[in-house]
Assembly symmetry: C2
Homo-oligomer: 303 residues x 2
DNA sequence: CGTGCAATG
DNA sequence: CATTGCACG
């Protein structure tokens, strides 16, 4: 989605090769504060959920992603952009200790495109696929697991595409997805995890000014996210850290963006308000973890 | 072209993982004899020509192919399967010391397919592309350089394809190519270099028995090569080493074939008979040189 | 098994 | 600058 040219970064260094990591970084590296172990009400966390856009599950495994997950040891793991059908899931993932219940969705007729996974320590009561909208349910973008006290949704929201060629279907998705989440929320609290493919506010990306017409930061996509919040959902990270700058979860591979923290916050834990109020302990961004062009995020809830 | 199954190699080792390099190699490693510096008539070599199917020029450069060529220091270098249009030739090749005159041909409308090159120390009198047969001249398979005393032809003969799906056009090629070479030979002696995509006799591949219906060893392709020899051309290597076994220039990447010398002799220097009689000093196979699924070959002529 | 493409991000 | 699948070998 960030298809910015080099102009923003091209320093006027004369003839020399521009340094890959300029001394004065345009955005500060995000400093991750210590874990908040409890809710404001003093309840200690009992549920740990990690979400990660892996940008190709098989390559991610080779880069040690599964190893990191094992150390992180979440109770639920939500993966996006697996680019991998269920039968091709590598054994290193199938055998992840503590996550025996695994569910996979992939795009029909488009091998290597999209795809999400949801892995859990305990068996869900029920698992569903998609959002109940035929237009959007053939690309392996959503898995919903119902647990006794909440729904967990692993979602990979469609990218609006270069030149915004797929902005219209994306906006239709936003509406349909919101209705889907409302439906869940009417039953039980919802924990939505994943790559929502939008940076909500200017603070959520490094270069807001030059990205007003870029996929992931158009007014329409941002409004879609605002409507989600208006419908009784909470952006967990931003609630806890309203002023945090440079907190990104995605950096394009192009031009060494990650080393300079030229990034976007595209990955979220979005919670039903009552869950955010009662259960949210912390929402972490694991900026330093390699393995993908996105980093993992982890939420801690007191259930 | 070798699409043999694993059955030939699958040893009955019981449960164990079969070793990649069995102790008893089915074909001996080829032992390259010392260079013959002179013709039988006692004339010392003055022209050194190297030919190599590089299987992708850009990858080959990264694997040090250009470096090896620099050390080999031929007067003429013929490359096949460059998979690279002229403008994409890497600078390491463009700047090869001693080979300033460079000519490139590539497949029209099929980027990354086929392609040949011819590089020379001295400027050719004339360079032509193709073989004068419209059916065959759009794939970048032949470059002919005319020098004062001979033609040098860099050729990548079309593969008959898996299941011999392209055997018919290949046989038409063989006829047209022979006519083309006859026409050259009527003017000046010819040195044909390249991947002729045929193993002529049983001695020219490791597993003749199981490859009678494989591209590169069908009776029709072998007869095509026999016709070439019958038209007054000489297989330089086989003339000099009529009994040499295990002398191959290609090994499929599959199954560790190269380590076991399960190969084919597909790359040749084919000379006009008068050139073979008067000028041929040696014809070498550089079996150990890495960088492609083919190895380079080098001819030494006393011009 | 490995090349270089194409579509996608 | 990466991923995947693909055609080709």
């Amino acid at each position: 989605m960030p298809k910015r040219g080099k102009k923003e970064e091209a320093a006027k260094d004369g003839e020399g090769v521009p340094p890959k990591v300029p001394k004065a970084s345009p955005a500060p590296q995000y400093e991750d504060p210590p874990l908040r172990e409890e809710t404001p009400g003093g309840r200690r966390w009992t549920l740990k959920v990690t979400s990660w856009n892996v940008d190709g599950l098989r390559a991610w495994v080779k880069k040690g992603g599964a190893q990191w997950v094992q150390e992180e040891a979440p109770d639920v793991l939500c993966l996006q952009e697996t680019k991998c059908a269920g039968p091709s899931v590598p054994p290193e993932v199938r055998g992840l200790p503590g996550l025996p219940h695994q569910f996979w969705a992939s795009a029909e007729g488009k091998p290597g495109y999209s795809g999400v996974g949801l892995l859990a320590k305990t068996e869900p009561l029920k698992v569903t696929y998609g959002i109940g909208a035929p237009e959007h349910d053939s690309e392996g973008r959503v898995i919903t697991a119902e647990f006794p006290s909440l729904f967990v949704v692993s979602a990979y929201v469609p990218n609006a595409g270069r030149g915004l060629v797929r902005l219209e279907p994306r906006l239709r998705w936003d509406s349909a997805f919101l209705e889907f989440l409302r439906g869940l929320d009417a039953q039980k609290p919802v924990l939505l995890c994943g790559d929502l493919n939008v940076a909500h506010q200017e603070i959520d990306l490094c270069h807001p000014g030059s990205n007003r017409a870029s996929a992931g930061f158009t007014p329409q996509e941002r409004e879609g996210f605002s409507r989600l919040l208006g419908a009784g959902f909470v952006d967990s990270f931003r609630r806890l850290y309203p002023e945090a700058r440079g907190a990104y979860t995605f950096w394009t591979y192009l031009g060494g963006a990650r080393a300079r923290n030229v990034g976007w916050r595209l990955d979220y834990f979005v919670l039903s308000r009552r869950l955010a109020d009662d259960a949210l302990c912390d929402s972490k961004i694991r900026s330093a973890v390699p393995g993908s062009d996105h980093c993992p995020i982890t939420a801690y809830l007191a259930m």
